[in-house]
Amino acid sequence: MAGASSDAATPASPRELFVAFTKLALQGFGGVLAVAQRVLVEERRWLTNAQFVEILALAQVLPGPNVCNVALMVGDRFFGARGAFAALAGMMAVPLVIVLILTAVYSQYAADPVVSGALKGMGAVAAGLIGGTALKLMGALRDNPLGAPACAVFAVVTFVLIALLRWPLAGVLLGLGTVACLWAAHALRSRREMP
């Protein structure tokens, strides 16, 4: 893959993808994204942070669950349709069984203050994991042709529009995203023209 570092690794088989994505999904409470970054980039080294951000960008502008889109695209890069299916199945199969079992027992424990307190604490950490992942991925912006100041502006404006002003995501991605992409195209073009 373009831009892969020298210590980049690849999965040996679709089966390895299935197992890796199953393990990864089972560690993901309140969202799988933080675990996906940790496992795919830091532990397995199948992707660099920059590649992870690229895949995530595409997963986010397309409809569908982001982490499932990421699994699909990663699996497809390595083993085509079989890899895509293996990764997605790994992400969903075992967690599906668990969530259905939880559904069956949920009503007995829903009102328990210890259980609801524990879930609240886990939820707070899960939110933190996503924030922490964002901080780590900032490193992937270092080589961005937009340059650091413009990257910072686009990231902050996105945060303000979504988190504080609660604008609809599709509109922000389309509107601000178009501006950012045109700007990047301009930067890439002028970079190419320089000797």
């Binding site: 309140g30 986010q60 969903m92 933190g128 924030g131 995501l169 992409c181």
Partner: protein
């Protein structure tokens, strides 16, 4: 209760294509169809579906499976989950391949470079929205602390989740 399977499947096929940012963004539409229109779920069941999926390991999309299961058993689960996944996964695969085959094109490179800072801003916004929706200060403190720990250390993520669970069970957050 007679379930109109075709209508149920059709609704979720459409939800799939509308779900930019994840299926949770079309939850209000799902509520309108499943609770108000088709009468397959109660309000409490609808909310519980989202809560259960969030407490469970794995992708949050599984809340759709829980909804289908509560509405119409295993068959309901199969119909809603297949419906929500089929169009979006097909599209994602097609677009990903299209982009990868043309990764040297200026437009594709500009897309990757331009969207990267938005992705980061979006992740911070997600963390923010998740934590401010619950009242209380201890909660926000725990979110910020875990973000910093994930950023700066290699502590196992499950250990962090477990610490959060214990603190919550003790009533400290």
């Amino acid at each position: 209760m007679a379930v109109d399977w075709l209508a149920l499947f059709g609704h979720f096929l459409v939800f799939s294509l509308l779900s930019i940012g994840g299926a949770i963004t079309v939850a209000p539409e799902m509520h309108r169809v499943l609770v108000d229109q088709m009468g397959l779920l109660t309000d409490a069941q609808f909310n519980a579906s989202i809560a259960i999926a969030q407490a469970s390991p794995g992708p949050n999309i599984l809340f759709v499976a829980v909804m289908g299961f509560q509405a119409a058993g295993m068959a309901g689960m199969a119909v809603t989950l297949t419906g929500i996944m089929l169009p979006s996964t097909t599209l994602a695969l097609m677009v990903s391949r299209w982009g990868h085959a043309r990764r040297e094109w200026l437009a594709v490179r500009a897309f990757k470079a331009g969207m990267a800072p938005l992705v980061i801003g979006l992740l911070v916004a997600t963390a923010w929205l998740l934590t401010v929706q619950t009242p209380g200060k201890g909660h926000v403190l725990l979110t910020v602390a875990s973000a910093l720990i994930v950023w700066r250390t290699r502590l196992h993520l499950l250990a962090l989740i477990a610490i959060g669970g214990v603190l919550g069970a003790l009533g400290w957050v």
